[in-house]
């Protein structure tokens, strides 16, 4: 009863500064896409407060339904790839990518029901931080840095390298106490 229709395009454009801020922040939230999934069971990755479903490989014609009811699928249209999450027949999230562009690695959050691009950084806690260099080499990382004050290290992976695979490998390494996937966060932008 109380609500007002808000077709105030011009006023929003006048707030161009804010719109740009929103745009930059939201962009990274929505960054999605890679390929598709051929299987009906997606790989689950525990993550703070939710499970992440790894959206992998190539099954463009086989949509996958998540436990939360979202249907994930991928379409190709010319040189574009479109990643779509649908719930109750409504597209809740989608993402376009140029097919030729190097695809980031993408997961779908079961709680927030969003695609997330996975960062190329992996957070690791080592039993002996002096072993960081050799551990980083084994996962073919481009570089690594230990932060003694913070008690953890960061491993940077090469462009195109799959962070999910790297985390799996690190988690199985007995020298590693903890390895954690990092999701790309909304961009920090000047205020």
């Amino acid at each position: 009863m109380w609500r007002k229709r808000a077709s105030r395009f011009n006023r929003r454009v006048a707030r161009h500064r804010d719109v740009r801020a929103w745009l930059c922040g939201v962009t990274s939230c929505f960054l999605a896409v890679t390929a598709f999934t051929q299987t009906q069971k997606l790989h689950e990755i525990p993550y703070i407060g939710q499970k992440l479903l790894e959206v992998t490989v190539t099954a463009l014609e086989n949509p996958v339904k998540t436990d939360s009811g979202a249907v994930l699928r991928v379409e190709r249209q010319g040189e574009f790839v479109r990643f779509i999450a649908t719930e109750d027949g409504v597209v809740t999230r989608s993402q376009w990518y140029q097919g030729t562009r190097e695809r980031p690695h993408v997961v779908f959050g079961t709680a927030d029901r969003r695609f997330h691009e996975v960062d190329n950084r992996v957070l690791v806690e080592l039993i002996n931080p002096k072993q960081l260099e050799s551990i980083a080499e084994e996962v073919r990382a481009v570089r690594a840095k230990h932060y003694p004050s913070l008690g953890y290290s960061i491993v940077w992976l090469r462009p195109g390298q799959n962070p999910i695979e790297a985390v799996k490998r690190l988690q199985s390494d007995e020298r590693v106490k903890h390895a954690e996937l990092q999701l790309k966060r909304p961009l920090m932008i000047p205020q």
Binding site: M1, W2, R3, F9, R12, K145, L150, P159, P186, I189
Partner: protein, 846 residues
């Protein structure tokens, strides 16, 4: 005090008192005379005539207006008189209006008594309502000897403020396309990344984008097109989705020693709005050096030494000393609405000497003529210089965070507010003109928060920093543990354990109504500062912005996590903005856009090194960072908590804020709910307001407080409680009901503890979270709105799992019963509160 009508009880009570009075008179008169048994003769009271008047007769819902209603009696008499007003008409008491007193009492010889009536809002579309206020029937009332004069009644009209009922928050029925451009540079090629976003609900049509580059002839004037890349295909982007693509520029086509602009647009060509700004286009720029390579290192400009020592633009720096000057805008502000540092300016000290401040931003021109002297050699860091980084800038220097984009370096403008050198004959002076200045271009790479915020001892060594200025933020992020770990480490371990001070911009989202607009946004804001997870950490000083007139700056995000406010200004055209350093030379920097202001006043800025239109909470935060540097020079043993305590204890209410004592209370269903609060004074005596935190920073007052026997590190050990969780198992939130959910939680914490911050973890689900207001009340009765109703950033979201911070309870005891209220203010969508919990940072304050 507001009296609530209860006519039912009054109906019973009045006859009771009448009967009792008559009985007493009868008993006294008939049986127990004290005059020798003679009956008492009761003189009839002197008759008086009463008239009623009102200051206004028309009120509008939602206006926060109130009117005065008064009754005059003649002649004045030497007795007490009470007159009960009656209210008739279509308007309902305590639904459509309320009055302070409905019974007016006259003391002996008092001629006039007044009450105040205010209209209540309900956000419903209604007809105009009327209210007639009249005297009772004096022949039967309890006002003996009073007769009605003329006028004996007043009629007030209450006009509605909602044009038409609309059942749902607007689902955008159009496509709105925006584009932003980022560039990375190689030796012979620039790679542009285009992000095209559709903010609307409907899919945009398939279209194309174009990129054109122009040589910049002089500020704002473009020369020939150098490169034209048209017909970049853009697919039919779904609503609220983004498309990313890349294209390359061939740098061989460009001439050395020139500056170029890159204009990106999406077809169809955009229409300009009334202020000449466009939605679906963007621009960035770059300069080439004498070898035809992208300028990626700071090259000191060759300039003659100034002959004068005064800073020529100082007289325009209203934020340091506001005398009502225009500061290159059309009109000036309110004298005195500044940092309150006139004593410091007169004394010339402190100046921040010996204190290190890092500007964590887009970049920093370390060779800027007005900054160079304060830059710590080799201390800054360029995250775009690591060749192992796939997005590194060609030939960038690891200790020179120079920004190649020539259309303004946010970090350089921020740095000038803090650290521009004083009395060097150039431009402006900073708040702390002798600090040691560092630049970390974290925002240009977004890679390495640990390195930029104090967690790294090499490449860069950020552990040597005393104050981190964070004039950045995000929108839609939440608490995350790595962020918390970094700043917790910095505050507990840096500065030899005294703790580094983190100063952060609150955000510029007050007017950011992306999904819908509502009248309450005018006071509560469209999008809250709680949409940035870093703002919800107690280790960060979150700064709001005020303008030169001493009011909240139009864009400054509001929220319970604000700590303090500082000058920043408006846009510098109609009203003053902040004057600060810009990328040097006339064809580089924000000023190269040639917008109204200092850029057209070349006599005061002959080389184009300054900018008079800088604003945002980005400009407010460095004012506070400068002030913190002054405090740390004055007393190097202050802990980070001391700094927060001193700022909170000495902040002042801004002078231009006029809406004193006006909360926004609205009828939701049949229950009143409060959705905006004015200043509150908490039980520890601290004033707090979601627009300003504890108020506007006052430098002279802070230094006086410090010099008046303040004992550093005297706040006791800071402790963090465990989470206290409420025992609930999914509670339905009543739909469109002002009573909402009200739950309580007892916190058993030590006697003598004083709150430093309170964090609320709340989870649940709702068909539209934007409907929810979340309010927390302390055991002392202080109420804090932690999530404002219709917070636009929640529009369309359904899952709530959120940590929110409030500073409103600072200094109070955390012991006792806390109350959480969750109200659903709109009908149609429903949801459930799954859990909530509190934890408290506390110390033992003097």
């Amino acid at each position: 005090m507001i009296l609530h009508f209860n006519r039912l009880s009054r109906c019973y009570l009045v006859p009771f008192f009448l009967v009792a009075s008559v009985t007493i008179l009868f008993v006294k008169g008939c049986g127990s005379s004290d005059s020798g048994g003679r009956p008492t003769v009761v003189e009839p009271p002197t008759p008086v005539t009463a008239t009623i008047s009102a200051a206004e007769t028309t009120l509008t819902e939602g206006s926060l207006d109130e009117i005065e209603i008064w009754v005059d009696i003649t002649p004045q008499v030497n007795r007490n008189i009470s007159i009960e007003l009656s209210f008739q008409g279509s308007a309902t008491p305590n639904v459509d209006f309320e009055v302070d007193d409905d019974i007016l009492t006259f003391n002996p010889n008092q001629a006039r008594a007044t009450t105040r009536l205010r209209v209540l809002d309900d956000w419903l579309a209604e007809d105009t309502e009327t209210l007639t206020i009249r005297f009772p029937d004096f022949s039967t009332s309890r006002s003996p000897g009073v007769i009605s004069g003329i006028p004996s009644s007043v009629t007030v009209t209450i006009e509605d403020n909602v044009d038409a009922p609309l059942p749902e928050i607007e689902k955008r029925d159009n496509a709105e396309v925006y584009v932003s451009t980022a560039a990375s540079f190689d030796r012979e090629m620039a790679t542009l990344e285009l992000r095209v976003l559709n903010l609307g609900a409907m899919a945009a049509s398939e279209t194309t984008a174009s990129v054109k580059t122009y040589r910049l002839l002089q500020p704002g004037e473009l020369g020939e097109v150098v490169e034209d890349i048209s017909d970049i295909p853009i697919p039919p982007i779904d609503g609220r989705s983004v498309f990313m693509t890349q294209t390359n520029l061939d740098l061989q086509r460009y001439s050395p020693n020139e500056t170029y602009w890159i204009l990106t647009s999406v077809n169809p060509p955009p229409e300009e709005d009334s202020e000449g700004r466009l939605g679906n286009r963007d621009r960035i720029g770059f300069s080439l050096n004498s070898q035809g390579e992208i300028l990626v290192r700071c090259e000191s400009p060759v300039r003659a030494r100034p002959t004068e020592s005064d800073d020529p633009l100082f007289e325009h720096q209203w934020s340091l000393q506001n005398e009502g000057q225009n500061a290159f805008a059309e009109s000036g502000g309110m004298p005195g609405e500044d940092l309150g540092m006139s004593d410091v300016l007169a004394a010339g000290t402190p100046t921040g000497s010996g204190v290190n401040v890092a500007v964590v931003d887009t970049g920093l021109e370390i060779c800027h003529p007005d900054l160079e002297e304060n830059v710590i050699e080799g201390g800054s860091f360029n995250f775009k210089a690591n060749p192992e980084n796939g997005t590194a800038w060609y030939n960038a220097d690891a200790v020179d965070p120079f920004l190649p984009d020539s259309l303004g370096d946010h970090g350089t403008t921020v740095a000038g507010i803090i650290a521009a050198v004083a009395n060097n004959g150039l431009g402006v002076r900073g708040v702390a003109p002798d600090v040691g200045l560092f630049g970390f271009n974290y925002l240009s790479e977004q890679c390495c928060k640990e390195d930029a915020l104090g967690g790294s001892s090499e490449s860069p060594n950020s552990e040597q920093i005393d104050v981190f200025n964070m004039s950045f933020g995000t929108f839609g992020s939440q608490y995350n543990e790595p962020d918390n770990s970094i700043v917790r480490y910095g505050t507990s371990q840096l500065r030899g354990g005294l703790g580094a001070v983190y100063v952060k911009a609150a955000g510029n989202s007050f007017g950011l109504c992306l999904h819908f607009e509502h009248q309450v946004h005018a006071l509560s804001g469209c999008s809250s500062s709680n949409g940035d997870g870093l703002n919800d950490l107690p280790y960060v000083i979150v700064v709001g912005a005020v303008n030169a007139s001493g009011r909240r700056a139009s864009y400054s995000s509001a929220g319970s996590n604000l700590w303090i406010s500082a000058p920043a200004g408006e846009y510098g055209v109609s009203n003053p903005a902040t004057i600060t350093t810009d990328q040097y030379s006339r064809n580089r920097g924000y000023s190269s856009r040639n917008i109204p202001g200092l850029s057209r006043e070349s006599s005061l800025d002959p080389f184009g090194d300054y900018y008079s239109n800088f604003n945002g909470t980005s400009a407010a935060a460095p004012h506070v960072s400068g002030v913190v540097a002054l405090l740390l020079e004055e007393e190097p043993n202050l802990t980070w908590r001391d700094v927060k305590h001193i700022l909170a204890s000495t902040a002042r209410r801004p002078g231009g804020f006029l809406n004193a004592a006006t909360d926004v209370r609205v009828m939701i269903g049949r229950q009143m709910a409060t959705f905006y609060r004015d200043w509150v004074t908490n039980a520890a005596g601290f004033d707090f307001h979601n627009h300003f935190g504890f108020g506007v920073v006052d430098v002279d007052a802070a230094l006086a407080f410090l010099r008046d026997g303040y004992e550093p590190n005297g706040l006791g050990t800071q402790s963090l409680s465990d989470w206290f969780s409420a025992s609930i198992d999914g509670v339905q939130i009543p739909d469109h009901d002002g009573s909402g959910i009200e739950q309580q939680l007892n916190l058993d914490l030590p006697v003598g503890a004083n709150i430093e911050a309170v964090q609320l973890h709340v989870s649940g689900s709702h068909e539209n979270l934007v409907d929810l207001s979340i309010d927390l009340e302390s055991p002392s009765g202080t109420q804090s709105i932690m999530n404002p109703v219709f917070n636009d950033l929640l529009a369309g979201q359904q899952t709530l799992d959120w940590r929110l911070l409030s500073n409103a309870f600072y200094g109070e005891s955390p012991r006792g019963v806390w109350t959480l209220r969750v109200i659903d203010a709109a009908d149609g969508d429903t949801g459930t509160l799954s859990s909530w919990a509190l934890r408290v940072w506390y110390g033992t304050h003097p």
